[in-house]
């Protein structure tokens, strides 16, 4: 509860009426609204197109967050991922736990309990593409600022939407054929 109070203390309304958290304009919205955006994209554009859009949005968001944390708050490496997931937990995206993290690769395994995937009920497939993208974006920033010439991708071998008890996202440098193992 103290963490929630801390989050509320960090929220400001600027002079023009924007809700701002740590310098970022925010929108407080329902979880199902975010899910509706992806589900509507799935209905109109198809599952793969929706997946691509959500992954890219998450990737950009994660990368930008990492850059912001590094520039403004001088947060580095694994601490960026910790802060990103801690904030995400507080903001209602689920309960995030870093299962493993290795900044030298970089590679991370992140578990999400009570994730947005609950909005899909039994989709029979993984749906947390924005979080695959977000975690890949953070790791890509860590790689880029560590001089590692790698392309980060993230996969989701477990997802609540396909009947798993929690979601699991693994971000790591891309190796050919890796995605097939899912």
């Amino acid at each position: 509860m103290d963490e929630l109070k801390d989050l509320i203390m960090r929220l400001k309304i600027d002079e023009e009426g924007r809700l701002v958290l740590d310098g970022y304009p925010m929108i407080l919205t329902t979880r199902n609204y975010i899910a509706f955006i992806q589900q509507s994209a799935e209905e109109v554009l198809g599952v793969n197109a929706a997946r691509t859009v959500m992954y890219r949005a998450g990737f950009k968001s994660g990368y930008m967050f990492a850059q912001h944390q590094s520039d403004i708050f001088k947060v580095k490496g694994g601490d960026i991922l910790k802060k990103y997931l801690h904030d995400a937990s507080l903001r209602g995206w689920g309960n995030f736990t870093i299962v493993s993290f290795d900044s030298s690769i970089p590679r991370a395994e992140v578990r999400i309990d009570a994730s947005i995937a609950e909005e899909w009920k039994d989709a029979g497939r993984s749906v947390c593409h924005s979080w695959r993208g977000g975690i890949a974006g953070i790791l890509q920033f860590i790689a880029d600022t560590s001089g590692l010439d790698v392309r980060i991708v993230a996969r989701e071998p477990k997802c609540i939407a396909k009947g798993d008890p929690y979601c699991l996202i693994i971000g790591e440098p891309y190796r050919h054929g890796k995605v097939e193992e899912e």
């Binding site: 554009l45 198809g46 197109a49 691509t52 992954y55 392309r151 991708v153 054929g177």
Partner: protein
């Protein structure tokens, strides 16, 4: 698996030498084998190409036309051909010649990669 994709692409280019570019791609922006033009954002092309196939497939389903086999875009400077090679993977080819024959060849390659 990378080796297999490259073998298929090599054989494709040998059999259809007029095809300028052909690549096996995945929706998060990865090129598994083959190549795309150097002066484009490969990330964007791969993502949009995958999304294009997804939209085409969705439209085909909505119109009850069954599983999509191949998608063709005739542009002023050539033809873009795409075909799904499994749930997420796709083949994208660019040609200025023999678009119909190329489309059949891409469809055949995609089927081979799906197996």
């Amino acid at each position: 698996m990378k080796g297999d994709f490259e073998y298929f692409i090599r054989e494709f280019k040998r059999s259809y030498p007029w095809v300028e570019y052909v690549a096996v791609v995945e929706p998060d922006g990865m090129v598994l084998a083959g190549e795309l033009p150097e002066d484009v954002s490969v990330d964007d092309v791969v993502s949009t190409g995958s999304a294009f196939l997804s939209v085409a497939s969705k439209l085909s389903n909505m119109l009850k036309m069954g599983k999509i086999m191949v998608s063709v875009v005739e542009s002023a400077d050539g033809t873009i051909i795409a075909s799904s090679a499994g749930n997420e993977r796709a083949v994208i080819a660019l040609t200025k010649e023999k678009p119909s024959l190329t489309a059949m060849a891409v469809k055949k390659l995609a089927l081979e990669l799906t197996r």
